[in-house]
């Protein structure tokens, strides 16, 4: 199924509850929008193969529950991730303010410090916006992240967000490893590439 897949990447989606993490993922993987998507329990998991610059990458995307109580459980899954999508809801300032907590969480539980981070401001289709685009941009710049605003409902920016993230990961030396004989087996044998550590120059993106 993945004869020509260059690598398998582990991507995380985190953020406050109800900001639309699962919806973003569903839009990306199935290109659908379900307004009645149940609140995630623990972690969920989806797979999608995408092609970036002619390189096929298989994404194992872990969607997490945003509720405080689940936070004792979900950070265990941060381990070994190469990319993370940090989501907030542009119509709810509190979800934006809590971003700092999530970054802390990442720093504490992430096993690597060169993980590529993307900030996504979701629900831009809604009218009652509370967080300005510039604020998101500023936050992303401050924390060396990629930034995009998106709407899982209208499809805006979703595909682009994932592609950018993957492209950045591929460009970061040592962050990923070419799929060898372990192809097809995803999590049991995923080995983090040797020689990471370099920030890969993406720090000054914005």
């Amino acid at each position: 199924m993945d004869e020509d897949v260059l690598t398998t990447l582990k991507i995380l989606i985190i953020g406050e509850s109800g900001v639309g993490k699962s919806s973003l993922l569903l839009r990306f993987t199935d290109d659908t929008f379900d307004p009645e998507l149940a609140a995630t329990i623990g972690v969920d998991f989806k797979v999608k193969t995408i092609s970036v610059d002619g390189n096929k990458a298989k994404l194992a995307i872990w969607d997490t529950a945003g509720q405080e109580r689940f936070r004792t459980l979900t950070p265990s899954y941060y381990r070994g991730a190469q990319g993370v999508i940090l989501v907030y809801d542009v119509t709810r300032r509190d979800t934006f303010i809590k971003l700092d907590n999530w970054l802390n969480e990442l720093e504490t539980y992430c096993t690597r410090n060169d993980i590529v981070k993307m900030l996504v401001g979701n629900k831009i289709d809604k009218e009652n916006r509370e967080v300005d685009r510039n604020e998101g941009l500023k936050f992303a710049r401050k924390h060396s992240m990629l930034f995009i605003e998106a709407s899982a409902k209208t499809c805006d920016g979703v595909q682009c967000a994932f592609e950018e993230l993957v492209e950045k990961i591929i460009q970061t030396p040592g962050l990923w490893e070419i799929e060898s004989q372990n192809r097809g087996v995803m999590l049991s044998n995923h080995k983090e590439g040797y020689g990471g550590g370099a920030c890969g120059g993406y720090c000054s993106m914005l």
């Binding site: 109800g18 329990i41 623990g42 989806k46 509720q67």
Partner: protein, 953 residues
């Protein structure tokens, strides 16, 4: 030595026709390299031959079937000399000729020998390509040695000549003889002869350091055996070289610019007293790979990684028989340990326990065969488990020591080193264990000692588990995934002990007013294990809410009242749903949740006491995510996945219900997922603005998992719920894991800790010496290590690289210490002078050659002088009185006064003679002439560069 076939800067006119093809090839290459034509350049600055970079490029040329390599060596100059070519002054001499006279780069400390001999900044070497094809016969040499300088309109050329002798003709051992030969070679027709400028360097070698013997103390191994911890304590790493890492000191005394006649140096007398030389410079010869303690330590530990034997194979199969069986059969052990009978709390200390364990081992093994003797073992165990030392007579008391490591002291910039290296905090048990194993491996029986210590360690772990003693030196809480797996395993064990302890303590308080048998039946774990196993095989499919909790019918906390539970469960089971029986007694309240009140009864909303989800080590986590991922991405898969993870949610709901009788899902959501309770301001019929709240749309989806779980949840406080985390099983798994680790596995687990410790050690030692270059290398080591160690199964080659770098740093620091001792820096009381000396010593380590400020009269110079004098004194064993006399008036003495000289005979004499004279005729253009001579014990070389004007010849 180089084969004598070098031809410099060739443009060939003199070769016979049979060589023409070869010649033209040479020309081709030189043309390619743009070396043909007039090259000019600025005079070179002082010392640039050492400070600037040299580069080279090569080509291969064959003469018939004989291959030559042509190599262009050149000093990389920053300025664009090539562009300056056009603005040449007509009369300018080629740079090569200018270089002959330039005195800025005489006696370079490190340079190609041709640079040393001729002072050139650029040259081409043509040599046989294969090393064994040296051009040996003189005729062949001559054919090749048709050399001239880079073309200067064909008007001048320089012949580079060389004399190389094993035996030195007497007349060449001194300046006057050399001057004679120089003058005869230049054959200057003028009278009086233009002055000859002279540069002389005499080099003296000091090998005998005398009382400045190497100060490294060998570690005192016996001290340990005596019960007292000596030179190298457990938990510390040794450091330093075992032999003097500085083997020789070379003192070069230089007269950079003398004119003929100023100085007398002939076969009977010499003015060249090294003390008087205007320039002194020193270089040190470092011992190659000196044996260093830290390096040996790590290397030996690393070698363990390649051992194949298991602990049992090393200690003898019988050793582990009792424990081995137990460890191998977890199920058996498990059922034995989960036996509900109250665990007897032994009044045993660690040491008691160790002794009893040892007795057991000794039954199988002769006493003498124990790789570690009792004292060493006890010292180590007390170091690892300091809580055992302050044992109270009552073993059940909480030990004060157990909290060590809970709050690791801040290590400033090193504090996060363990996360970079994936090792363990430097005050943790794992880290200490790594150091002990390292020490045991080195001093106490190698791999056998390691196996023995490990066996004892595992026994101690089991003892602590069985007797509810927390393992010291581990941070509280779930395993820290940033640490090495072994550390995580130990933390996991501690989590298990903690929970078991809490449970047992609860049990104890109840069993005091209850017969033990009663409690036993209540827990009943009939077939729990086998059931669990089969379920696992089914891939967890079809499991209900408890999937991730353990399936045993064991409860989070011990049962306080079986009857009550049953009654409660049935009752609430029937009535569960949207409505709860409000008259239930609230249970398991943690604290009030702000000012929130329940929606219906209006009572305060309480946050319940909840079960913490099970801690996980990274390997378990990997397993679990694999299971979750295997469920696939279908809707069913996702549903199942959510179900499997909802045990925690359900448990929380049950706790919540128990703490808040009469609550509804909305109440729960307001605590658990507040954003899913949407509040709106509405105006009621009276015209007042009131808040109206409802569940979010997604929570209202019919039969979504939250609703489903809520309906299933019974009001049961956490302490009576099923355990989400089976500490018994997890502890046994950890203990089994520990028991089957081979010494090699251990070494792999703990190598990051050892490297971490070694880096801290070199850092600590470096701060005492403050060596800039070492600081830089240490930084590089940290970067390299964090790249390599963070990933599973690093390659041996890369690990070796890290170790080699640590060793080189250790050697450098040892060299610095050796030099400091030799120069008596510690003894120096004048601070300013001491600082200067310190700088001087540091320079010696980093630069190939360091000039001595003030030459023989400066502070460093006088120390060097003394060093030589002492060595000479011993070498000649002069009577004491003479010695005293001499040391008092050393300055006044002449070198050749017959008494013992302060310095040994010069090991090397280098002389450069230079002049500018017209050759071959008096009307020819005056051109640079230069002759370099070097005389060592068994080698004499003259390198002449004599230029002549070819205009009329």
């Amino acid at each position: 030595a180089l084969p004598e076939s070098e031809v410099f800067e060739i443009t060939d006119f003199t070769t016979a026709s049979e060589w023409e093809r070869f010649i033209s090839k040479v020309e081709e290459v030189l043309n390619d390299w743009k070396l043909i034509g007039i090259a000019s350049g600025k005079p070179l600055g002082k010392g640039v031959y050492t400070t600037d970079a040299w580069e080279e490029k090569s080509d291969e040329i064959s003469f018939a079937d004989f291959k030559f390599s042509v190599t262009h060596h050149y000093l990389v100059q920053e300025s664009s000399d090539k562009d300056g070519k056009e603005e040449l002054i007509e009369d300018a001499l080629p740079v090569s000729m200018q270089d002959l006279l330039c005195m800025n780069n005489d006696f370079p400390p490190r340079a190609h020998c041709l640079v040393r001999w001729y002072g050139l900044r650029e040259f081409v070497v043509i040599a046989p390509a294969a090393n064994n094809d040296a051009v040996l016969s003189e005729s062949k040499c001559n054919l090749l040695l048709s050399s001239i300088s880079v073309a200067l309109g064909n008007t001048v050329r320089t012949d580079f000549e060389m004399v190389h002798l094993r035996k030195v003709p007497n007349q060449y051992t001194h300046l006057s003889g050399l001057l004679d030969i120089f003058k005869s070679k230049t054959g200057c027709p003028l009278t009086p002869l233009p002055p000859v400028s002279i540069s002389i360097r005499l080099t003296y070698v000091l090998q005998d350091w005398q009382q400045y013997f190497w100060p490294q103390q060998p570690p005192d191994i016996d001290a340990l055996v005596g019960g007292e911890v000596g030179g190298v304590e457990f938990g510390k790493l040794p450091f330093g070289a075992c032999e003097d890492p500085i083997s020789e000191l070379h003192l070069a005394t230089t007269w950079p610019h003398l004119t003929e006649g100023i100085i007398v140096d002939n076969d009977v007398y010499s003015d060249l007293d090294p003390i008087q030389a205007p320039q002194w410079s020193v270089r040190v010869r470092k011992a190659d790979n000196p044996q260093c303690l830290l390096g040996d330590f790590i290397t030996e530990f690393f070698k363990l990684c390649r051992r194949k034997e298991s602990t049992e194979e090393i200690l003898g199969r019988s050793t582990f028989e009792d424990d081995g069986k137990e460890a191998a059969d977890i199920t058996h052990a498990l059922s034995k340990l989960t036996e509900p009978a109250p665990v007897p709390i032994h009044k045993l200390s660690v040491t008691n326990m160790v002794h009893s364990a040892k007795k057991k081992i000794r039954k199988h093994r002769g006493v003498d065969e124990s790789p570690l003797n009792n004292e060493v073992l006890n010292t180590i165990l007390l170091y690892l488990f300091p809580d055992a030392a302050d044992k109270s007579s009552d073993g059940s008391e909480a030990r004060p020591g157990t909290s060590t490591g809970n709050n690791p002291p801040p290590e400033n910039e090193d504090s996060n080193l363990y996360t970079q290296f994936k090792s363990a905090p430097s005050d943790s048990l794992s880290y200490k264990l790594a150091l002990c194993l390292c020490m045991v491996n080195f001093y106490h029986g190698g791999v056998k000692g390691v196996a023995h210590l490990w066996q004892e360690f595992v026994l101690e772990m089991r003892y602590r588990w069985e007797n509810n003693y927390l393992v010291p030196g581990l941070a509280n809480g779930a395993p820290d995934l940033r640490c090495c797996l072994l550390h995580q395993k130990l933390q996991m064990l501690n989590c298990c002990i903690e929970r078991k302890k809490a449970r047992d303590e609860g049990k104890k308080s109840i069993s005091s007013d209850r017969s033990p048998g009663d409690t036993g039946k209540a827990i009943g774990h009939s077939g729990g294990d086998s059931q669990n196993d089969t379920d696992k095989e089914k891939g967890e499919v079809g499991r209900s809410w408890e999937s991730w909790s353990d399936s045993e019918e064991e409860f989070f906390e011990c049962l306080s009242d079986t009857e009550e539970l049953k009654g409660n469960g049935q009752e609430s089971g029937k009535k569960s749903g949207s409505k709860e029986t409000p008259n239930l007694k609230p249970e398991g309240r943690l604290h009030q949740h702000g000012n929130l009140t329940l929606l219906h009864p209006g009572e305060p909303l309480y946050v319940p006491v909840t079960q913490e989800p099970g801690p996980m080590t990274e390997d378990l986590l990997e397993e679990q995510s694999e299971v979750l991922a295997k469920l696939g991405t279908s809707a069913e898969g996702a549903h199942l996945r959510a179900r499997m993870q909802s045990a925690c949610l359900l448990s929380d709901m049950e706790s919540f219900k128990a703490a808040n009788p009469g609550c509804c899902l909305e109440d729960f959501v307001r605590w658990y997922s507040p954003r899913d309770y949407v509040e709106e301001e509405v105006v009621d019929e009276k015209g007042n603005v009131v808040l109206k709240g409802e569940l979010s749309a997604r929570m209202k989806i019919p039969s979504n998992m939250w609703v489903e779980a809520w309906e299933t949840a019974k009001p049961i406080p956490a302490r009576r719920q099923r355990r989400l985390f089976d500490d018994t099983r997890e502890a046994e798994k950890v203990l089994h894991y520990l028991a089957v680790q081979k010494p090699a596995d251990l070494a792999r687990h703990l190598l990051p800790c050892v490297i971490h410790a070694a880096v801290l050690k070199v850092k600590e030692e470096e701060t005492l010496e403050d060596i800039a270059s070492v600081k830089k290398i240490i930084k590089q080591i940290i970067i390299l290590s964090s790249k390599i160690l963070r990933f599973p199964n690093p390659e041996d080659k890369k690990l070796e690289e890290i170790i080699a770098q640590i060793m080189s740093v250790e050697a450098t620091i040892a060299r610095a210490r050796s030099l400091k001792a030799k120069f008596g820096i510690e003894k120096h009381d004048q601070e300013e002078e001491r600082d200067d000396l310190e700088r001087f010593v540091n320079c010696l380590l980093e630069q190939p050659e360091v000039s001595v400020v003030g030459a023989g009269r400066g502070p460093a110079g006088s120390i060097i002088h003394k060093l030589f004098m002492n060595a000479q004194r011993v070498a000649t064993t002069t009577p004491l009185d003479e010695e005293l006399k001499r040391s008092g008036s050393s300055d006044e003495r002449r070198l050749n006064s017959g008494a013992v000289a302060d310095f040994p005979p010069a090991a090397g004499r280098e002389v450069i003679l230079r002049t500018t004279v017209p050759r071959p005729a008096s009307y020819s253009k005056p051109l640079p002439q230069r002759m370099y001579s070097v005389l060592t014990k068994e080698d004499f070389r003259l390198a002449g560069a004599f230029s002549s004007d070819t205009t009329f010849f």
